[in-house]
Symmetry: C2
Subunit: 504 residues, 2 copies
């Protein structure tokens, strides 16, 4: 076969094989391949590329061993991470998007798709900020405006927000801050802020240690008194507060910071107000739940993730900006690629060349509509409430917070400690028990939740190991939730015998 | 239709329509839709999402208007940007990759794909650094090692390299530098360094102005005398040199800095040596051309782009690290997601959640093999030499540098200036002429090159508008190159009449 035929001759058998592999993946579960390092690394231990290429038929043999080793995120018994099963049209759309290979960094290499990106960002801007038609008519396709930017994910969106906030405060040279009389710079938020903020402060040269993670209240929301104390300390210590971060959907509890109060404080103190709504943003589609995000429209910047509740493939984040000229503080250009007076979207993005993932969002917006998103979100939030009830009804479990969105943290209590007052030693036992339980459940492969470590008000500052369920899959039914909890009770009984044989 | 059926019921008609759209795209050219702002923004001016979702049939109507507006990157007469037409198997593989939706940030959400990523990185590490089997057996799947990281593209890879270099020098807090007696920090490289380095220095709080873009020699390579002068100035001014950057494939000329000399200077001065081989890295596959990159194995870090000469879809960059423990200087963790003692690849990446694009690389490696890449690369580099000959043979063109890889910069000379000595005024005329020519050719839509602005030795420091051809498409034949140049001669004649009617 001539090499150029690889570029011109589709191979229908390869396409059919992909369909078959996906079919098998959708109807299998994790237990097919044991979750063990040995079995995985043994399969993938080649550091040399093949000299000559192999045929697609031979490559299919390789794929047939790889795919069963993937994590089975689409199973309705996989409730562990923030990854969505995708609508079926996504598979076919991906072929188009990938083969068009448009690069929206630059008009010349994406043309209409650049404007599609701007349209998608305008729709999300309207969802969050709800400006009027005149606003969008003016700014949506203006060269000197950016209602937001596309990023590869929430991390880069949060980093971009900090970058903007810093450049608003002191440009790209930190020493300007010192000339203004400050002795350093910090960002303020709750202890449930995403770890991308630490990464961002590290990257920006401000120090990860200058992310001040403040106390939360009983509902895992940033404590306003703690914030006021921190602001006073910053003034006393001559520290510039670059940004106040509100969390709209914490990764462990789905809790939402008191956004209206934070907005007022940020306005009073003239601090950049950023809301990390990577998880929670799409709640705004739901008439029943959108009130949870009241106050978000007062944020200077908002992070969203396409690949979370917006149900598009991984690699799609966004930063939305209330003011269309905010992005000008980080504008860049390059002679061969990005012209200052162009429509090139690359003028504002942290990333350079990147895929036209706005097309995935466009398709999902059109095919699901606001009502579709609302229906899916409400069903998921209702499922979380059902799961919380089932957890609370059993002495084998302890729910760690009332459900807000569709994220729950809870833990399993070994039989000998059920119904007891739990001191520090008991909690340490329960921690060990839950680590072992999560690993055993993961290894068994029938159902899955993730685990985290957090302090929770009712046990003071003790770090607790928690199980963490994410109810995102629209195919989850009550029976799947019951099965998952039953798996945990069963495995918990076995483990308790192993771990605490004597204590019982 | 029940909403959940969108997730469970594939729609074969939608798939067939994607095939038809792609077919049409592959056999059309840019001229179908005029390259005008008005026609584009008029089509995409909705800032409201639809309330109810539309059917896939209705969405196909929308796609049928969007796709012809895309930039026709796969045409063999499109030689303007660094975007590759992709092998046909990529389309089908994308369905699998997107629907598996694995997240290699974390073992639990990618399992075997995490190890595939490490295997792919090991293969590229071997390509660049050529360590022995024992090295790869030890480090490839070790928890405390990272032979590299995947990124969304070359920009994040370059930013990550600067981040590493800075944290090696002073951690995440810049003031540590001052305590060491430095008065600032810079990076050194040629004036052809990619603009992501400015972005990186801005982001890192070190100031874009502290990217020192040094002179190049007649072959567009970093001048060693200029570098030595800069190093002396840095010592005199007590500036810390965070990194020395070597360009291996400049975006405008395909020129390669003198890597062996740079490596020796970096070693002598104990400076982090980074090579930006986003474009040129895969040259190493070619027995005929790999000598161009001699010295790259002495780099501390190397940037590669999957979506350039490695022929995988956009969104796939990499940073390779000579020493497996280098990444530990930026290691992060998070309680619910990234555990320090895990295999979680997210410990080292600037990005968080991201797609498992290593699978695209794996498929291309297996299906093309080293020989396939070598054959494609050599054919492209040979095409550039052919094009350079055709340019040199015509008085209508001026070649701006001898071809090194498969990138060429040249310009069109209007008839009345052909064969003349060109003073500043003449060069200004030629600049205007080439801007107009590139726009006219783009608007006509039959063939395409991009344009850039650079000073070139033979005209001192005058900024010149250059045409820039990228020979990446394996389907380009001699006749396409001849057609493109003929288009330019023809359009040039018309434009010269318009612009310089009097002068002729």
């Amino acid at each position: 076969m001539k090499l150029t035929e690889l570029f011109t001759q589709p191979d229908p058998a390869f396409g059919q094989a992909m369909t078959a592999l996906l079919e098998r993946f959708h109807h299998s579960d994790d237990s097919q391949v044991p979750y063990q390092r040995g079995s995985f690394t043994h399969q993938l231990d080649q550091s040399r590329m093949p000299t000559a290429g192999i045929s697609t038929t031979e490559y299919l043999t390789r794929l047939a061993t790889l795919v069963p080793g993937a994590s089975h995120l689409t199973s309705p018994r996989y409730m562990g991470h923030m990854t969505a099963p995708l609508p079926a049209f996504t598979a076919e759309l991906s072929r188009l998007l990938v083969m068009l290979n448009q690069n929206p960094m630059k008009m010349e290499s994406s043309r209409l798709l650049s404007f599609l990106e701007r349209e998608v960002l305008a729709k999300l801007h309207r969802l969050i900020y709800g400006e009027g038609d005149a606003f969008y008519d003016t700014h949506m396709h203006a060269k000197d405006a950016a209602l937001g930017v596309m990023t590869s994910g929430g991390t880069i969106a949060n980093v971009t927000a900090l970058w903007l906030a810093r450049n608003r405060a002191c440009g790209d040279n930190l020493f300007a801050l010192y000339e203004q009389g400050y002795r350093g710079a910090v960002i303020l938020g709750s202890r449930l802020m995403h770890y991308s903020f630490d990464k961002g402060m590290d990257l920006l040269g401000l120090g990860a240690a200058n992310v001040w993670r403040l106390d939360t209240d009983a509902d895992n929301r940033l404590s306003i008194p703690a914030l006021e104390v921190a602001l006073t300390r910053c003034k006393e210590q001559k520290l510039k507060v670059l940004a106040l971060v509100g969390v709209a959907g914490s990764t462990d509890f789905g809790s939402i910071d008191p956004l209206p109060e934070l907005a007022s404080i940020a306005a009073r103190e003239q601090i950049h107000f950023h809301v990390d709504a990577a998880w929670g943003g799409p709640t705004l589609y739901s008439p029943r739940y959108q009130g949870l995000l009241a106050g978000i429209a007062r944020a200077d910047t908002v992070t969203l993730d396409g690949h979370k509740q917006l149900l598009v493939p991984l690699g799609t984040g966004m930063l939305l900006c209330r003011q269309p000229d905010l992005m000008m503080t980080v504008k860049r250009e390059a002679p061969y690629a990005i012209r200052a007076t162009s429509f090139d979207q690359g003028r504002f993005t942290l990333e350079g060349t990147r895929p036209a993932n706005a097309l995935y969002l466009d398709a999902a917006f059109q095919l699901l509509g606001q009502q579709g998103y609302a229906e899916l979100i409400e069903a998921n939030y209702d499922r979380a409430r059902l799961m919380a009830e089932l957890i609370e009804a059993s002495p084998a479990f302890e729910l760690m917070s009332a459900p807000v969105m569709n994220l729950l943290s809870y833990r399993c209590i070994p039989p000998h400690l059920q119904g007891k007052a739990l001191d520090e030693e008991a909690n340490e036992q329960i921690n060990r028990f839950n680590v072992a339980l999560q690993k055993a459940q993961r290894a068994e492969g029938h159902s899955f939740v993730s685990r985290t470590q957090r302090a929770v008000g009712r046990y003071d500052e003790l770090p607790l190991t928690l199980l963490r369920a994410v109810l995102l899959n629209p195919l989850i039914e009550e029976r799947h939730i019951r099965e998952l909890l039953a798996d945990q009770e069963r495995l918990g009984h076995e483990l308790a015998r192993e771990l605490f044989g004597d204590a019982r």
